[in-house]
Symmetry: C2
Subunit: 237 residues, 2 copies
């Protein structure tokens, strides 16, 4: 093998490793989406068994996080990547932390679903919670999609959308407090519902964080903690 | 300069950079501790002004996170570190994420303090919340101390301690629910108190995460998501 061939070979292998890292993140994301879907289904359908099942499977997400982290460290150590490649790896290290925490929140919702299923089930099947859940599911799905396509514009839209999730959460909390005051016998139930809404709101935060890393990955600019108007100026959107 | 001198010079500079990174993490940790102290003081003393002040200063913590992150990327790109040096940088990237989120929770407690201060103030000055707060403060302080001394044994003890924080949080939540049921006029207040307890419980989780990174840093083993008995076997404690 000539030195040129060797270099090409090395760089092809390196590209494959980076590609594999991205694929693994998307696989972890798919699993997290699946857990979130089932957790929301469990709570809105009052399915205790499904709630416990999804909570009990959180270890699968944790295992993926640890293995991707190890792969990142290995690639950093053996390839000494620079510029965009380095940004990808740093972004992956960050993204999987947020994905793992979305998994934790889905687990929490699973346990709450199981506890709520043993209590009175309202006729409206927790319609507000369901709407908030669907909103958050879309955010998580879209942020993973933006990551896979390296689409900073879509990512920016998701960052903006988090405000709506926060508003939805505030509304549910206010409703819960009204219901509790109206009928104190429902306090336990509405506390659990407000915890579930809080978990969804947190998932929205994590989806937002991931979108911010996508923007960092594409533009090389760290836009966390900036106002949206500043972000648009920074990345020229 | 001979090549040997150049190498020594480079490696001395590199060591200084790593040392500077560690110092910056501890500086960020000190700021986070300060915010947490003031947030807890604000809520237990019913000091609305202090609550808003500490919430409004969260941007200082965020700025430090972004600048340390940038420094990590710069060192990774220019030094291509290996083994222990690489582990330090990966650990720093992870640790500052948790520190930033402790800052977010302190901010949340600050806002709750301000809202609670406008309501009835109980004679016991939220003694249980204060006790939980002190426990969590100690955990955060000790985990930063373990990071600065690279003490994996102390870090492991902090990981174990998180259980007690969870128990303290469960107890406060149960008390809040009892109080709400007894007197529905207190629902709003006790909802806020349970949110504050939840924020403290989350801070305990983040302190635990940081301790796990310290163990990773010292032993090169990722112990997240393992049972304590497994961890002790892994790191031979």
């Amino acid at each position: 093998m000539t030195s040129e061939q060797f270099k090409q070979h090395t760089s092809r292998r390196f590209n494959e490793e980076l590609e594999h890292l991205r694929t693994e993140v998307l696989r972890m994301g798919g699993l997290v989406e699946n857990h979130l879907d089932r957790a929301i289904e469990a709570i809105t359908a009052g399915d205790s068994e499904m709630g416990l099942l999804v909570a009990g499977e959180d270890y699968k997400i944790n295992e993926l996080e640890v293995s991707i982290d190890e792969e990142c460290s290995r690639v950093l150590a053996t390839r000494a990547p620079a510029a965009g490649d380095l940004r990808l790896i740093v972004a992956v290290i960050k993204v999987i932390t947020d994905l793992e925490r979305i998994g934790d929140e889905a687990q929490r919702i699973g346990y709450l679903a199981s506890r709520l299923a043993s209590q009175d089930h309202p006729h409206d099947h927790y319609s507000e919670l369901k709407a908030l859940g669907e909103h958050v599911q879309t955010m998580v799905h879209d942020t993973l999609d933006a990551f896979s396509r390296l689409d900073a514009d879509d990512a920016l839209q998701i960052v903006e959308e988090d405000k709506l999730v926060d508003e939805g959460y505030d509304q549910i909390t206010r409703q819960c407090i009204s219901m509790m005051m109206e009928d104190p016998r429902t306090i336990r139930r509405f506390m659990d519902i407000s915890w579930a809404a809080r978990a969804l709101e947190r998932i929205g935060d994590h989806a937002k964080n991931i979108s911010e890393y996508v923007i960092y990955l594409v533009h090389g600019r760290d836009i966390r903690h900036l106002e949206i108007s500043e972000v648009k100026r920074e990345v020229g959107s």
